[in-house]
């Protein structure tokens, strides 16, 4: 029930594509927190998605296939799809805008108080512009949520690891999809395959998202094309948000790596694609219609979406170039299986190169990170605790930590393995002044506290107790029940033991005579024969049995208390 969710923390722009479904139709009324680049680029990704889908309007929509009995009869992989009944239509731009308007913008290392009870802080995760890990902490507990992080030096600000230290629990997710591929090697392969194809007069198609890795690819090409003698080959970037994406990338200097940041101080645009555009090497178009058809020259390199090859302008290029073996499609986005993406286009003459570039953490980096950060417990999705099904012999492809990670599955509720013991409290200076500490052991002092607890917005403040009201001079005759003592004045607990001999001496000093001491199994009995009083003294208890003589009892009480410590 999403109406019970108070807060949504967004890690990066890929992790917010479903946000309109939550904020618009579920009764969710909490707050969403995200960084500014996350929101702006997230908006672009959603805008592209909505635009692509709306280009292919469907007069009718079929929904009978969602019925379980019918789904069962469909061919694989359709029949194996899970929870088909929850599948929804794509949202509209209106819903996107409404959803995004509900997001609160935050900056890295900003401490955000939630209901006075916990504090959340986004930290740079190094994966994408504005991508964050989150720390959720109270004064005594700290949970880190690490999602989609990268230790590689690409364009975003490097990952903040130091702030993750001292976590009670570290939730780890969003690791690389391709743990066996090295992103740097893949970039090299990408460039060489691209050069090879273009030299042979073929075209290169790069299905991609409109933001993210494409910035790095363009930067690589910027350095590569001149040395490879390809500077005359046009680069086309086709997306409804191509222009916005390129422009936005230049204004988030504060979220970029140090190298790019210092460029802004010159002042120069942080990404070299500004120069590619200026020199007409890179051109961008909202779609293949319009200007693009006039400017289109082959051979060329086209960056366009959607990487699933199911919709968007990429479909046209697959059909246009698929029949020639001169052309190449290069898959760089790791989110989709390239074989499945290509399935409907088979048979295909064009070359297919798979160089997935996923900069997120691999398992070796994870072990390094965990050693560095040393969380008490690690929690992660079940998949990361066993080798991938396709490579079941690769036992190195799991999270390795001590104690073993706690795993979770979809829709499972997990109790985090720590117990809350303390909460923050503020002691008012007036109260602190009135306390009388007493050193019990070296370095440890105690003080008994009687105070008024004020709790507001989950903040606790101890204030000095109100002064006892002055007894009103007795105009009214007190009724008996008025005298009933207020049991709210609590007596402290006692500790210690009473040395019998000294106690007897003290009694004598205070005028008691005729004292007899008897030994018992557990202690002593002190008899005050004159007063018909019996005091049983044991290791940790004292029992005074006397006649109803309040004066006497109080005297004895005070003598006993002298030997005991109060708490």
């Amino acid at each position: 029930d999403l109406s019970t969710v108070d807060v949504i923390l967004i890690s990066n722009y890929h992790c917010m594509m479903a946000l309109p479904y939550i904020t618009e139709h579920t009764g969710f009324s909490g707050t969403v927190y995200a960084t500014e680049p996350t929101v702006q680029i997230g908006r672009l990704l959603m805008e592209e998605l909505v635009n692509f889908i709306e280009r292919v309007p469907k007069a009718q929509s079929a929904s009978l296939w969602k019925n379980k009995d019918i789904q069962r009869l469909l061919p694989s992989p359709l029949k194996d799809a899970v929870e088909v009944s929850t599948w929804r239509r794509c949202y509209t731009m209106q819903e996107v805008n409404s959803a995004l308007s509900k997001i609160q913008l935050v900056g890295y290392s900003q401490k955000i108080e939630l209901f006075g009870a916990v504090q959340v802080t986004p930290l740079s995760s190094g994966y994408a512009l504005g991508s964050s890990n989150w720390i959720i902490q109270s004064h005594y507990e700290k949970v880190s949520y690490v999602s989609g992080s990268s230790l590689l030096t690409t364009h975003p600000q490097p990952m903040d690891q130091a702030s993750l230290k001292n976590s009670d629990v570290l939730v780890l997710t969003g690791l690389t999809q391709i743990p066996t591929a090295n992103p740097d090697g893949m970039v090299g392969e990408f460039c060489s395959n691209l050069a090879l194809t273009v030299r042979n007069g073929g075209n290169v198609l790069v299905p991609c998202y409109p933001s993210g890795v494409i910035y790095d690819l363009l930067e690589c090409l910027y350095q590569y094309i001149d040395s490879a003698g390809l500077s005359s080959v046009p680069l086309y970037f086709i997306s409804p948000v191509a222009n916005s994406s390129l422009e936005f990338s230049q204004i988030f200097a504060e979220w970029l790596c140090h190298n790019k940041q210092s460029k802004v101080y010159l002042p120069e645009p942080p990404f070299p694609h500004a120069e590619l555009i200026q020199t007409n090497k890179l051109k961008h178009y909202p779609s293949i219609h319009g200007d693009f058809s006039n400017d289109f020259r082959q051979p060329c390199v086209v960056f366009t979406g959607h990487p699933s090859l199911r919709f968007g302008d990429v479909v046209h290029f697959m059909e246009l170039w698929g029949k020639s073996s001169l052309n190449t499609v290069i898959f760089t986005e790791p989110d989709f299986s390239y074989l499945e993406a290509l399935a409907p286009y088979q048979p295909l003459a064009m070359k297919c190169i798979y160089c997935p570039i996923d900069t997120r953490l691999n398992f070796i980096q994870v072990s390094k990170l965990l050693k560095e950060v040393q969380p008490l417990h690690v929690v992660c999705p079940e998949q990361y605790t066993q080798p991938p099904p396709a490579q079941s012999h690769r036992t190195d492809l799991v999270i390795d930590c001590q104690p073993p990670a706690t795993s979770y599955r979809r829709a499972e509720v997990l109790t985090l393995p720590f117990k809350r013991r303390y909460e923050r409290i503020e002691i008012m200076p007036e109260l602190a002044d009135s306390l009388v500490p007493m050193e019990i052991k070296p370095g440890i002092s105690l003080a008994t506290v009687s105070a008024v607890l004020h709790t507001k917005d989950n903040k606790h403040v101890l204030q000095p107790p109100p002064r006892p009201a002055q007894p009103t001079s007795g105009k009214k005759r007190k009724r008996v029940s008025d005298d009933v003592p207020d049991c709210k004045v609590l007596k402290p607990l006692l500790s210690g033991s009473i040395p019998v001999e000294q106690f007897v001496q003290t009694l004598e000093k205070h005028g008691f005579s005729d004292i007899k001491v008897e030994d018992t199994a557990k202690g002593h009995i002190v008899l005050l024969q004159e007063a018909e009083t019996l005091i049983q003294i044991e290791e940790d208890s004292t029992h005074i049995i006397c006649d109803n003589d309040e004066m006497l009892r109080v005297r004895l009480r005070d003598l006993v208390l002298k030997f005991l410590q109060k708490f």
Binding site: E423, R424, P429, H543, I545
Partner: protein, 600 residues
């Protein structure tokens, strides 16, 4: 007694060379490090000997914070860090870090190359100084050390201007730098949350002014410019390269476009293009409208405004020229002013505040015969207009910010003493907080009483909360517990837990009193009578009659026994622990009075 100490080394009852020392909970922070435009001797920089007489700057200061790139807030920085010597961190926002060194270099050039000053900081010193800078994001909490943290808030005023919160434990100070509470054509309004600092240090440039609406001033400005160029006059607008200049450019650009005017507008070269570029790259720091439309049309790419060449000043015909610097104290703006001053058709519009001693200040105060260098006397015939486009908060804005932040006290800097006095009274009246306005070198001491943070065991807290929820508990309840203090770590736990933690056994002190009653009935009946008697009196307490014949009041046990020697007397044994002392003592005295006569 803990206290916060504030000493302005500059900007105390003055505008210029902002530099304020703050000591809070044992940490020393320097806020801004500016120069004074009105002086060219030692007085242009703050007097750092106040600190250095007792030691090195680096040892004394925990950090330096620069609020924005105006020279009266950062102009002394290279002198301070490289010549006096400071190696600690200097905090500022990204745009400030980008633009600050350029303005410093510009300032250095004018001072050294044009005025020929010796013993001034060098370009290398500016570079070395900037290496000590740590850039901060808006709202980022920067941990300077384990205890001291700072946080930047958006201040409007100029690109990258920020207000800073300085916090140690539960004590905090907010320094506003210069700020603007109304959004303008290119920047947003300052904003701060209700952070309730112990002290708010605010600028007070316009302490007594309440400005009319921005729209009126803009219309006025455009009208004056338009009228002058219509009748063939030249308009000179002295500005600083960054800030007001961009706002007025946007204003004129849109006006020219709308009115389809052809009169040339120039912007004195040098910084201009670079400056506009900074605005383009730091567009996230501008206002909502510009940020939204920048992909389609970047407001900082001007069509009508062209670069100025020195030769243009002698061109015939009307023109509008933006020239630096803004107070007519040196450089291109002063050169053009000298050329045009003699013609009554021309106009100079001063869009901002002018520091005493500058030409700008002189002509604004009505002086029409100016003594220039070389004993020349310049007669000013051109029209002189003043329009307050300075992006400072006016009196209303300052009050608004005080209301937003809810400080315990306010301290005024960066303003004129007389005006401050007025604002001080107003703040004290309206917010009922203390307001200070120290002069340079004068120290304000504010005692604080920070509460002491500690932990409370969840068990104790939950117990208290559960009882606090009972409807009868309207009056304040007392919480009892034991505070364990170990290495300056405070934890409040229930007394039982404290004993357990320290490995101490509880010592139970129990009393049993014999109360003799005259009663001939059987023990059980006596007990029954005791029960009904107590039940009728102790309405608020739990009185029970147990099956074994004993009576309990809360945890106090009462048993009736018959001593063998006297059947007419019964002995009540009342037994309680020390924790029930009051109730036990009360019960015995109550029972001593005897039981009411039983109904027969």
């Amino acid at each position: 007694m803990p206290e916060i100490r504030v000493t302005p080394l500059g900007a105390g009852q003055d505008v210029g060379r902002s530099c304020i020392l703050v000591s809070i909970a044992g940490k020393n922070v320097m806020l801004d490090c500016g120069m004074h435009m009105g002086f060219s001797d030692d007085r242009r920089f703050p007097d750092f000997s106040y600190i250095t007489q007792s030691g090195r700057l680096t040892d004394f200061l925990d950090c330096v914070i620069i609020s924005h790139f105006h020279l009266d807030h950062c102009g002394a920085l290279p002198y301070f860090s490289e010549m006096v010597g400071y190696d600690g961190p200097i905090y500022m926002t990204h745009p400030t870090q980008a633009i600050c060194p350029i303005l410093l270099e510009d300032y250095r050039k004018i001072a050294v190359d044009k005025k020929g000053e010796a013993n001034f900081f060098t370009s290398q010193m500016i570079k070395d100084c900037m290496k000590k800078v740590v850039a901060v994001h808006l709202h980022q909490t920067v941990q300077v050390d384990d205890e001291l943290e700072i946080k930047a808030y958006y201040a409007g005023h100029v690109l990258g201007a920020a207000m800073f919160q300085i916090k140690v434990g539960s004590e905090s100070v907010v320094y506003t730098g210069d700020y603007n509470m109304t959004p303008d054509r290119h920047l947003g309004a300052a904003w701060i949350d209700k952070c309730r600092p112990n002290l708010l240090i605010t600028e007070s440039t316009y302490a007594t002014t309440i400005r009319d609406s921005k729209r009126c001033r803009e219309r006025d400005f455009l009208k004056k410019v338009h009228e002058t160029v219509e009748r063939g006059g030249k308009v000179l607008i002295p500005v600083f390269a960054l800030g007001r200049a961009q706002e007025l450019c946007i204003l004129l650009e849109t006006f020219w476009e709308r009115m389809n005017l052809k009169v040339p507008i120039y912007f004195s070269t040098g910084l201009t293009e670079k400056a506009n570029h900074y605005y383009k790259l730091f567009i996230t720091w501008t206002n909502q409208k510009i940020r939204k439309t920048f992909v389609q049309r970047n407001m900082f790419e001007f069509k009508h405004i062209k670069a100025f060449d020195r030769a243009f000043a002698d061109n015939p015909g009307p023109m509008v020229v933006f020239a630096t610097p803004g107070m007519l104290h040196a450089g291109q703006s002063l050169q053009i002013f000298r050329k045009w001053a003699g013609n009554e058709k021309n106009m100079v519009i001063m869009p901002g505040y002018c520091v005493q001693g500058t030409v700008g200040h002189k002509i604004l105060s009505g002086q029409r015969k100016l003594e220039m260098e070389g004993r020349q006397v310049l007669e000013v015939k051109m029209q002189v207009e003043y329009m307050s486009f300075s992006a400072h908060a006016d009196a209303k804005g300052i009050m608004q910010l005080v209301g937003q932040a809810e400080p315990d006290s306010v301290l005024l800097v960066h303003g004129e003493a007389k005006k401050m006095e007025f604002l001080k009274q107003k703040i004290e009246q309206e917010f009922r907080v203390n307001c200070y306005m120290p002069a340079n070198g004068e120290t304000v001491v504010l005692p604080t009483s920070p509460s002491i943070p500690g932990g409370i065991s969840l068990g104790l807290l939950k117990r208290e909360m559960a009882q606090g929820l009972l409807p009868e508990a309207k009056k304040p309840r007392l919480l009892h517990g034991t505070l364990i203090m170990k290495d300056s770590n405070f934890r409040l736990v229930s007394s039982e837990q404290a004993l357990k933690e320290l490995g101490l056994a509880e010592h139970q002190l129990r009393f049993t009193c014999r109360v003799h009653l005259h009663d001939t009935r059987k023990e059980q009946e006596t007990a029954m009578r005791v029960y009904s008697h107590l039940k009728s009196i102790l309405k608020d307490h739990c009185v029970q009659h147990l099956p074994d014949g004993s009576v309990t009041v809360e945890s106090i046990l009462i048993q009736a026994a018959a001593p063998s020697e006297d059947p007419a007397t019964k002995v009540l044994l009342v037994s309680w622990t020390y924790q029930d002392e009051e109730l036990g003592s009360y019960l015995t005295s109550l029972l001593k009075k005897g039981l009411p006569q039983a109904p027969s």
